[in-house]
């Protein structure tokens, strides 16, 4: 239900009325700045500010936001721990040598690199979450058309988007019917049940595809898929703060890299 949940949150977000371009600019802009930053301070600032924006004006539930962050956090911590021992350079901070051929060392270089990676991932993930939690996929299709993505691809995306939920609901229904009749009780049974589920899903998707063509024919399909041209115009009220924020973040980045404060 997670993908449905995320899209629902975006549909009901308080920033729904803001032009999707503005929101994507903010998300992508801060993502790029976090990515190029050689210092962990900039991604940290960006992540904290965007989180505050998501929690206060957008009113995302803190519990849900926390849950969302758990998955990337686990992956990042795992990778950072590996990086900590893998990278080198600088002075040795801590060494562990239980047997002759295993030598675990943390150096100042590996520590600063790992910290940078950790905060970059933190800043970038939150930039993406900002887009995901404020801009529904349906609002993005129009933008895709404007930036010149082939219309056939967008039509396909729209149909796929529409059918994800139908196929998902169907999969859940079949799965429930199987579980009710003790479908996944033993490992062998689980494999059999799962293959049956896939088969059933394939057949029903095939039928749904035929129905789709019929439904389109019923409504005089002539190769045109309408687009949602209802997005609000770009408002200076929201665009100016976004530009100011990105400029500020960029400024901090420049000051920190040229001012010699950055970790080499």
């Amino acid at each position: 239900m997670f993908e449905e949940l995320l899209d629902d949150v975006a549909q009901n977000s308080a920033f729904r009325h803001i032009h999707p371009g503005t929101k994507v600019l903010l998300g992508l802009g801060s993502l790029i700045i976090c990515l190029v930053s050689p210092t962990p301070v900039v991604p940290l600032i960006s992540g904290v500010i965007l989180s505050l924006v998501l929690l206060i004006p957008v009113r995302i539930s803190p519990i849900m936001y926390g849950e969302l962050l758990i998955a990337p956090a686990i992956f990042t911590v795992m990778s950072v721990v590996v990086l900590l021992f893998l990278l080198g350079g600088g002075d040795v901070i801590w060494q562990f040598n239980p047997v002759l051929w295993i030598n675990l060392t943390i150096t100042t270089g590996s520590l600063s690199q790992s910290t940078l990676v950790f905060f970059r991932v933190f800043g970038c993930s939150i930039s993406l979450f900002f887009i995901v939690l404020t801009t529904p996929v349906t609002d993005l299709f129009n933008g895709m058309k404007r930036i010149g993505i082939p219309i056939e691809l967008i039509d396909l995306m729209m149909i796929i988007y529409r059918y994800i939920f139908i196929v998902h609901a169907q999969a859940v229904e079949i799965w429930q019917a199987q579980v009710m009749r003790l479908g996944y009780s033993r490992p062998r049974e689980a494999i059999r049940s799962f293959s049956l589920l896939c088969g059933m899903l394939f057949i029903s998707s095939w039928n749904a595809g035929e129905d789709l063509i019929r439904a389109m024919d019923c409504r005089c399909y002539d190769g045109i898929f309408p687009s949602l041209d209802l997005a609000e115009p770009v408002q200076m009220r929201s665009l100016i703060p976004v530009i100011a924020y990105l400029a500020g973040l960029g400024g901090v980045l420049i000051v920190m890299t040229t001012g010699g404060v950055a970790v080499p």
């Binding site: 349906t138 529409r162 129905d211 439904a215 019923c218 005089c220 399909y221 002539d222 045109i224 898929f225």
Partner: protein, 410 residues
């Protein structure tokens, strides 16, 4: 009124399959409300799909506006613009990721300009009461809302005829009522509406004309009170008589005056009952209900027993009892609500036989006893399994009172 759609002896056979439509002729006038009623597999959906050219009849002619339907692409587009089809499953009809895009689908493909598309969508959404839903994705909508989106998608093309396949399937009762009201409203705005359904309670008060379909053929086509009032046809089509109609028929059988125009609503019924209350009524001596447990007795002698009692009605409760009736070629008068229907007969002084199994025998006695206590009417239940041998018709009552220990004399 002008005829808008007509079928002349149309037939349809599935590729390498059975014949789904076996020679149907009928016409539809502009502004009419028609209900196509029949059991599952009667060919309702197939016939409906012929109206907008989705299915081409194997033989016979479909006419729209007195012109035979042509099946080339541009003629079909014209036809589908004028005959809107709403599928049974709204999820299958909604193709776009947002309500606006879905409703705009028809107008955009018909080549309307942007302004006209916007207007068509706004009008359609206003009609179905979904203003403000433009940007919502369909998967967030309730069943009733999805149905309305599907209808709006068709309305946006401004068709003359609206075809609905099972419009209320999957809707809750209040959703169904709302939808039928919407159909009425659309009809008032000049649309011709045809629905397929097996819900007679819904179709009876709504339709101006009912077409009973069975096995690819029309078995009856008339105003609803005639079409649904004929128990023979209704039973043939695996349907049930609408409650209001059944009630008025029962009152009529008891000698009450039922007006020529049958009741179409509770209001009509109340009016009839209020009129009757002012007249005295003496009920006849009640009839007997005989119960037979088909599991416990040999049933081959039943047809003979029934033959000796002309005028007795037979009802069956449960699958085994119905199977037994089919094996013995016993015509069943009642197949649902059997005990109450037999009680109604008994109150008119007529006898009936209930075929049933196991513990249901006790349930019949209990229900009749409960009814007797409530109403003060004494109706006797005879258990055929304990009356042995079969009593001759003339001596039945005597035999019963002497032999039948389970008889419930109330």
């Amino acid at each position: 009124m002008k005829v808008i759609l007509e079928a002349r002896d149309v037939r349809y056979r599935y590729p390498r399959g059975m014949e789904a439509i076996k020679g149907i002729s009928f016409h539809m006038r502009r502004g009419e409300k028609i209900a196509l009623v029949g059991p599952n597999g009667a060919g309702k959906s197939t016939l409906l799909q012929m109206f907008n050219g989705m299915i081409r009849p194997t033989s016979g002619t479909m006419l729209f506006d007195n012109e035979p339907i042509r099946y080339d692409i541009s003629s079909l587009r014209q036809l589908r613009k004028r005959v809107g089809y709403v599928l049974q499953n709204a999820d299958r009809q909604i193709i776009a990721p947002t309500v606006y895009q879905d409703v705009a689908f028809g107008p955009v493909n018909l080549g309307y300009d942007d302004q006209a598309v916007r207007e068509a969508v706004a009008t359609a959404l206003r009609h179905v009461g979904l203003v403000g839903f433009e940007r919502r994705p369909p998967h967030q909508l309730s069943g009733g809302e999805k149905k309305r989106v599907a209808i709006a998608g068709v309305l946006a093309m401004d068709p003359d005829v609206l075809v609905f396949d099972e419009p209320t399937s999957g809707l809750d009762p209040s959703g169904s009522e709302d939808l039928m009201e919407l159909l009425d409203e659309l009809n008032h705005n000049g649309k011709t509406i045809v629905i397929s359904t097996h819900d007679v309670e819904l179709a009876y008060p709504w339709a101006e004309r009912a077409i009973l379909l069975l096995d690819g053929q029309i078995i009856r086509e008339d105003v609803p009170d005639v079409a649904f009032g004929n128990t023979k046809y209704v039973r043939m089509a695996h349907l049930s008589v609408p409650t209001l109609l059944e009630l008025s028929a029962e009152l009529g059988k008891r000698g009450f005056m039922i007006p020529e125009r049958k009741p179409r609503s509770v209001l009509d019924m109340v009016h009839i009952i209020e009129n009757q209350l002012r007249k005295p009524y003496t009920p006849p001596a009640p009839g007997t209900i005989t119960v037979c447990n088909v599991d416990e007795r040999e049933t081959s002698s039943l047809p003979g027993w029934l033959k000796a009692r002309p005028g007795i009605a037979v009802g069956a409760m449960g699958t085994r009892a119905k199977q037994c009736a089919a094996t013995e070629c016993i015509a069943l008068e009642f197949t649902y609500g059997v005990i109450d229907k037999c009680l109604l007969r008994a109150l008119r002084g007529q006898d009936s036989l209930i075929l049933t199994t196991g513990s249901m025998v006790g349930r019949v006695a209990a229900r009749v006893e409960a009814y007797g206590k409530e109403s003060g009417n004494a109706i006797s239940v005879v258990n055929l399994n304990t009356t042995n041998p079969f009593p001759a018709p003339g001596h039945m009552d005597v035999e019963v009172s002497q032999n039948d220990l389970t008889s419930t004399k109330l």
